[in-house]
């Protein structure tokens, strides 16, 4: 029994058909508990007041925005190397979710930045990198939309994703070189001492798990839709020929 068996669209559909209902429930549980806990059961920060609570949307969204691009990179590689259609379609399905997460991170950051930094936007390296990530997502989605033949589109967007990853990373370091930052360091880390009190970090972890599950649910749903779209267009093409 290998993971690659689920690259078969039929098997993928059967598996996700069974898994999805449970996944939806678990996602709703984590998101609901995490956000409710974060918004209503945590104390106000002594300096930031209640604005600190935006962290429960901002940090998970920002993490997902980057991780979704990495997931697209992996699925693109799988498509280029092993030619599994589900993989290419999963990358296609993930991109709009990724761009939405980028936007959520940018907007919540701006809303938090206005009372705390006194400005909605600053050309800080982290903020700028997210703007750049947003542009990379835009190009990727536009390329999917522009090409009609699905296999060609899959190939070209995958190549773009590879090259884009290299240059997005380069841009990240270029931007660091270009301007000093206003943004605070990472909120959570595995090896260093925490900057965030456990009263905030525990519900934050719940929120992050919720966001990851939410993403998985959405991407499975959207990949199923893409597979059905492909089947429908194949049926239509057959009808036109016959």
């Amino acid at each position: 029994m290998s993971l690659w068996e689920y690259a078969n669209p039929n098997r993928f559909m059967r598996l996700t058909d069974k898994v999805l209902p449970y996944l939806v429930v678990v996602t709703a549980l984590f998101m609901g508990v995490g956000l409710f806990w974060g918004f209503f059961l945590t104390p106000d920060d002594y300096k930031q007041g209640s604005t600190v609570k935006i962290i429960f949307l901002h940090v998970p969204a920002a993490m997902m925005a980057i991780n979704i691009w990495v997931m697209m990179l992996v699925t693109s590689l799988v498509w280029l190397i092993r030619r599994h259609h589900v993989s290419a379609l999963a990358a296609k399905a993930a991109a709009p979710i990724g761009i939405t997460m980028t936007l959520i991170a940018l907007f919540t950051g701006a809303i938090w930045g206005q009372p705390m930094w006194g400005t909605y936007w600053a050309w800080d390296p982290r903020l700028t990198s997210f703007m750049i990530l947003f542009v990379f997502y835009l190009g990727y989605i536009a390329l999917w939309a522009a090409i009609e033949d699905p296999d060609t589109a899959g190939d070209l967007t995958s190549i773009l994703c590879l090259v884009g990853s290299v240059f997005a990373l380069l841009s990240r370091y270029a931007v660091n070189f270009w301007n000093q930052g206003l943004h605070q360091g990472a909120s959570l880390s595995l090896d260093k001492e925490e900057h965030v009190d456990s009263a905030f970090s525990t519900p934050l972890y719940v929120c992050i798990i919720g966001f990851v599950l939410f993403f998985i649910t959405l991407v499975l749903l959207r990949t199923r839709t893409e597979i059905r779209l492909r089947r429908a267009s194949a049926l239509l093409a057959r009808e036109r020929q016959g």
């Binding site: 750049i132 990379f136 522009a146 060609t152 380069l170 270029a174 070189f177």
Partner: protein, 218 residues
């Protein structure tokens, strides 16, 4: 490969447009900046390196869709692809031809346009050097974008959307290596990283662009 380079250069020179057009566009962009921000020389000399770099970058963008489009339409790209030359070599030659007809003239013109923007003294040498080292990367990255969009009907706008994000590192390090000198600081790091980005594109782009062309010619 040399023959292909000569052919592309001859085509670019004789078909008119490509060569002079991007230079004229560069001049107009540089001329419009004072119209937009006002003629105070202190402001202009402060933003001059950035303007020259952005102007060169946009002018470079103009002629990108020609790299493969005409050859694709009249079928010579198929012939080139089936020739004994490796496709990677063809891509590298196409990018070089594009650089010789756009990047190099822009580089040569930039110090003169620097006069118009009151560029500070020591920056003249560095705007020339940074463009000389950086514009090949613009041509190579542009060739990659052109290879991806060659099969599309209206690829021009999409091409800009795909290529411009890839230009960010080159723009930052290129403009920084001039601005730092203009401010009297050391620019060695910026300049060396700019050169490194260019070398990276030479090493990487021919292979990925050739792959994209193969997909489009399938």
């Amino acid at each position: 490969m040399i023959a292909l380079l000569k052919r592309d250069l001859a085509l670019a020179l004789r078909s008119g447009g490509g060569f002079g057009l991007s230079l004229a566009f560069f001049l107009i962009v540089v001329m419009f900046v004072p119209f937009g921000v006002g003629p105070e020389t202190s402001i202009l000399s402060k933003i001059a390196p950035g303007i020259l770099w952005i102007g060169a970058l946009l002018s470079c963008l103009l002629s990108l869709d020609r790299i493969f489009q005409l050859d694709f339409e009249d079928g010579s790209l198929d012939l080139l692809a089936t020739s004994p030359l490796p496709l990677e070599g063809i891509v590298a030659m196409k990018a070089t031809a594009h650089w010789l007809t756009t990047g190099l003239p822009l580089t040569l013109a930039a110090p003169f346009l620097g006069f118009l923007l009151n560029l500070p003294g020591p920056a003249y040498l560095w705007i020339f050097l940074s463009l000389l080292v950086g514009t090949p990367a613009l041509s190579f990255l542009g060739t990659f974008g052109a290879a991806i969009t060659v099969g599309l009907k209206r690829g021009g706008l999409l091409l800009s959307l795909l290529v411009l994000p890839l230009y960010i590192p080159t723009l930052i390090f290129g403009a920084q290596s001039v601005t730092l000198v203009a401010d009297g600081l050391d620019n060695t790091t910026a300049f060396l990283v700019l050169a490194a980005v260019s070398l990276l594109t030479f090493a990487l782009i021919p292979f990925v662009a050739a792959r994209a062309l193969k997909v489009n010619l399938r």
